[in-house]
Symmetry: C2
Subunit: 241 residues, 2 copies
């Protein structure tokens, strides 16, 4: 059952252009008109990500889009994604440790901008693609962070405003995310997740590893090009793709 009123309401989607935001946007598009927001914060693959964002917004017929620079995250640094003197790790994720790919408090910066936009354009929902299961262990991708942020919105916006940040993939594994993406027709081929390459994904950084493992687990071949598909090669071969 589709609620017509909900279908007509506007929702902001914060989208990097990666797999999770691609699926999140496709899920939001089932019941909302989309106002898609992309933030350039000086990340290594900024141009590739922006291209992915626009391709996804085109594919999902976004009603409006906003691309904003957030230079301060780049200037503040503290992460290998924003400081090119810090190497991108390629040896997998160490449980319990926050990796150097963590951009300090990044999501609070991104979500705050999204809420400002939502308050002005009258959107009651802000969809984000954060995920705390098969993720890199970022504190600003946790359920407790999200819950506290929503409390902050409640008190920090106009009393008549009701804006909520919704993370439909928060508790999904990467395999679940791929499955949900298939169900809602997410344009996987338009998305980009690699932390370090712009044309052919490296297949080795944390982000590529997590993504490839998700596709492999459901026996689907990830449609984007990779330099190598180290751990998932045999799986995807077995799936006959």
């Amino acid at each position: 059952m589709v609620d017509n009123q909900s279908r007509l309401s506007l929702a902001v989607v914060v989208a990097s252009g990666g797999l999770d935001s691609c699926v999140t946007a496709a899920l939001a598009a089932r019941d909302h008109r989309l106002a898609m927001l992309h933030v350039d914060y000086g990340q290594r693959t900024v141009e590739r990500e922006r291209r992915a964002f626009h391709d996804i917004a085109d594919a999902l017929h976004a009603e409006c889009r906003l691309v904003i620079p957030m230079d301060h995250l780049h200037r503040i640094g503290g992460s290998c994604l924003t400081d090119t003197t810090i190497a991108v790790p390629v040896h997998g994720i160490q449980p319990g440790l926050v990796p150097v790919t963590y951009v300090p408090f990044r999501n609070a910066n991104l979500f705050a901008a999204a809420v400002s936009w939502a308050e002005v354009i009258g959107a009651a929902k802000v969809f984000v693609g954060i995920n705390q299961v098969d993720s890199s262990g970022y504190p600003d991708c946790s359920e407790s962070f999200l819950s506290a942020f929503n409390q902050t919105i409640r008190f920090g916006t106009r009393p008549e405003t009701r804006i909520e940040v919704i993370a439909p993939l928060l508790k999904c594994t990467k395999a679940d995310i791929v499955l949900r993406g298939i169900q809602c027709g997410a344009p996987f081929d338009k998305s980009w997740s690699c932390y370090q390459n712009n044309e052919v994904a490296c297949g080795r950084c944390d982000s590529c590893r997590l993504r490839l493992a998700g596709f492999a687990a459901v026996g689907i071949r990830d449609p984007i090009p990779y330099l190598e598909r180290p751990e998932t090669h045999s799986l995807s071969q077995q799936a006959g793709t």
Copy 2:
């Protein structure tokens, strides 16, 4: 009694260059080395505010400073401070109504940037000049907002990080703020509060009115120049300044 360890620790101060942030920075400087942050978000008096910020940072011997653009607040608009097609109100504040000077969710954007910087440079405190008593009734200047934001920081930064946003003037009247500024030697003459003028304060906008009333209440003449000092003229005359 001054705690030497606390004296040596670094604190981020978010400073617009206005009266409240001037006093907040002076209070923080008593026990901390200062890392001062200023955000240009396309507000009407952006250059004058930035000059005030640097003058205050100079006067308080800030150890480091960061001036960052936040163009998206200007592009998002929704406030007379960021959208010049919306007039600045000059007829006083209407209790219970959020005025058009409110920049949607602005402080969440500013504080998020400050926390990102604090996490990278190792500052455990972020001082901000928000005030909910003699203020314009902005939701993002309330105690409930601040408390929720601190909870967001707790969950959204590295587990070993302990960063807290502190608002020493939150419950002060403007008169209290002026008194506290006098006590800690705040460089009032370097500050700038007017929402619409750059060289001589208008004396009529909400921000000028609140500031002038604060000085008038304690019988001190505000050292910055005004085009007019409408409601406080007789009071400051009585005080013989």
